[in-house]
């Protein structure tokens, strides 16, 4: 026999914002790649490697580095957001 129970779960927003349009990155136009480290162990070293690999693959790329303090929400500077065409943001461990 069934009976009614209250749903304990809090409502969570379910927006579905489209992604920004993509383009080919090796087309000759300069691109700025943002590498944002969350400063977990080895995150900076990993981003160093990504910087090296990406600039070899994409001759037109310029790298802009960003950093987050440990264990607090990330703050992206206006300069970082305005200049970057694409970004890798480190998350979690």
């Amino acid at each position: 026999m069934a009976r009614e129970l209250m749903n304990p779960c809090g409502a969570v927003a379910n927006e579905d914002t489209p992604l920004a349009p993509r383009r080919q990155l090796d087309g000759g136009e300069p691109i700025v790649i943002g590498l944002f480290s969350n400063q977990k162990a080895n995150a900076d070293l990993f981003m160093d490697n990504m910087a090296s690999l990406l600039t070899k693959r994409l001759a037109n790329a310029e790298i802009l580095r960003g950093y987050k303090a440990a264990s607090v929400p990330a703050e992206f500077s206006a300069e970082f957001l305005e200049h970057c065409d694409v970004v890798i943001a480190g998350f979690g461990d």
Partner: protein, 435 residues
């Protein structure tokens, strides 16, 4: 980008940001322990995927990542967790469940809605009784609870209170707790997702401790008080069902702590020789009832049966506060010192004010140099250089300002106190309880 173990957390973050199709590149976990050439290898292995995520058709990527489920390396304990979306904005307020206690518990456990212990089934009748006639608006939004930013309405708080075993007169405390959970100083997103074994401590102060029988004395952090147990458990239920802190999914605690089941106690003003609670020190009146939430580890006991002076007891406390494995060691932040009434009495009779205690600890509580590893020291030089002694090569202070130490008097007779380290990047938040 994240390691595979953290994909579920990353996916939840994209949902909270309103972009569930945001692409996430994944590398194998763990990254932290890798040697430099191993880090280079995982970077080489993922660079093509990163470029793909920057170049492929945006709509195709969006569809791909909306559907991409977290990799599961272990059996999902909550078998029905992903059956139906009970967190959707249009999710029903009620659901049909079994009629019997055991059946309801099997259902709720299978959905990941409990702490593992049996719950009180949240029937509409119990929910209405919990709300009572206080004039509360069930639809009032108290806070959005991290990490999922779930809506903590009065109604949802009441339902979780029923499940935890709260009594109707506990609801005002839970309502204030929910408001405090939404305060940015607490940094709940980190507390409810971190690998660190922290929980949310609820410290209750003021006349309400008498009115609803909050335990402030014997076994103050232990079992035996319905009020302490149920309110602490109710907060955990809010963190789970509204915030989404499911163990192993969004709650990434490596070890966890028994304090995550329930951690709530009251300040013992009657035996506080300074006549001032932490809440009063934080600017609230003695006539006000408050709840202070802190992001903390479980308590560490301080046994000192033999100290006869303030300094002798504080010396033992200093040593207990200073462990290299605490988050406070490299992140700074608050540490709570809960003085048992007997320790408090000795310290007070020696003429120490609360400020004197804090000054003593700032001057004398430091992690010995020989227990600090060089990698630990490197991160401390980066985050808390002012705490390192001897130009960075010595020991490390555990506190540098009065704000780093929260002084509370609680507990029963006996020569014990407790140190409660915090997550570090968190600050206590106090809300008035309006009964």
């Amino acid at each position: 980008m994240c390691s595979d173990e953290f994909y579920a957390l990353g996916k939840a973050e994209t949902q909270c940001l309103g972009m569930p199709g945001l692409p996430i590149a994944v590398v194998p976990h763990p990254v932290a322990k890798l040697l430099p050439d191993e880090v280079a290898t995982i970077a080489r292995n993922v660079v093509d995927e990163v470029i793909r995520l920057w170049q492929d058709d945006a709509e195709a990527l969006r569809a791909e990542f909306k559907e991409k489920a977290p990799p599961t390396k272990s059996r999902l304990r909550y078998r029905s967790m992903f059956e139906g979306n009970f967190s959707a904005p249009d999710a029903p307020e009620r659901l049909n469940g079994p009629d019997d206690l055991e059946g309801v518990n099997r259902l709720f456990y299978s959905r990941g809605w409990t702490d593992g212990l049996p719950i009180i089934p949240p029937t509409p009748e119990r929910y209405e009784k919990m709300l009572g006639n206080r004039g509360l608006d069930p639809k009032e939004l108290l806070a959005r609870i991290e990490p999922r930013q779930g809506e903590a309405t009065v109604a949802k708080v009441a339902v979780n209170g029923v499940m935890a075993g709260c009594q109707p007169d506990h609801l005002p405390v839970l309502v204030s707790a929910a408001k405090a959970l939404g305060h940015s100083d607490l940094n709940l997103k980190a507390l409810n997702t971190t690998t660190h074994p922290c929980t949310v401590l609820a410290l209750i102060s003021g006349p309400i401790t008498e009115n609803i029988d909050v335990n402030t004395t014997y076994n103050v952090m232990g079992q035996g008080s319905l009020t302490n147990a149920a309110i602490g458990r109710g907060i955990r239920s809010i963190l789970l069902n509204i915030g989404g802190g499911t163990p192993g999914i969004l709650d990434r605690a490596t070890m966890g702590t028994p304090a995550k089941y329930s951690f709530c106690f009251g300040e013992n003003l009657v035996e506080n020789p300074w006549g001032e609670t932490l809440a009063m020190e934080r600017g609230f009146g003695a006539e006000q009832s408050t709840i202070t939430l802190c992001g903390v580890e479980g308590p560490h006991n301080v046994n000192d049966h033999y100290g006869k002076t303030a300094e002798e007891i504080l010396q033992t406390i200093s040593g207990t506060m200073c462990s290299p494995g605490l988050n406070n060691s490299y992140l700074g932040g608050e540490i709570m010192l809960v003085l048992g009434p007997e320790h408090a009495d000795i310290i007070h009779k020696d003429g120490f004010s609360k400020a004197d205690i804090k000054n003593y600890l700032i001057e004398n509580a430091f992690i010995p140099a020989h227990v600090l590893s060089e990698p630990q020291r490197v991160i401390m030089r980066q985050y808390v250089p002012e705490r390192l002694l001897a130009d960075g090569d010595g020991g490390a202070k555990i506190a540098t300002s009065h704000d780093d130490i929260q002084l509370v008097v609680a507990g029963g007779a006996g020569r014990h106190s407790a140190v409660i380290p915090s997550f570090g990047n968190t600050r206590a938040v106090t809300e008035v309880i309006r009964s």
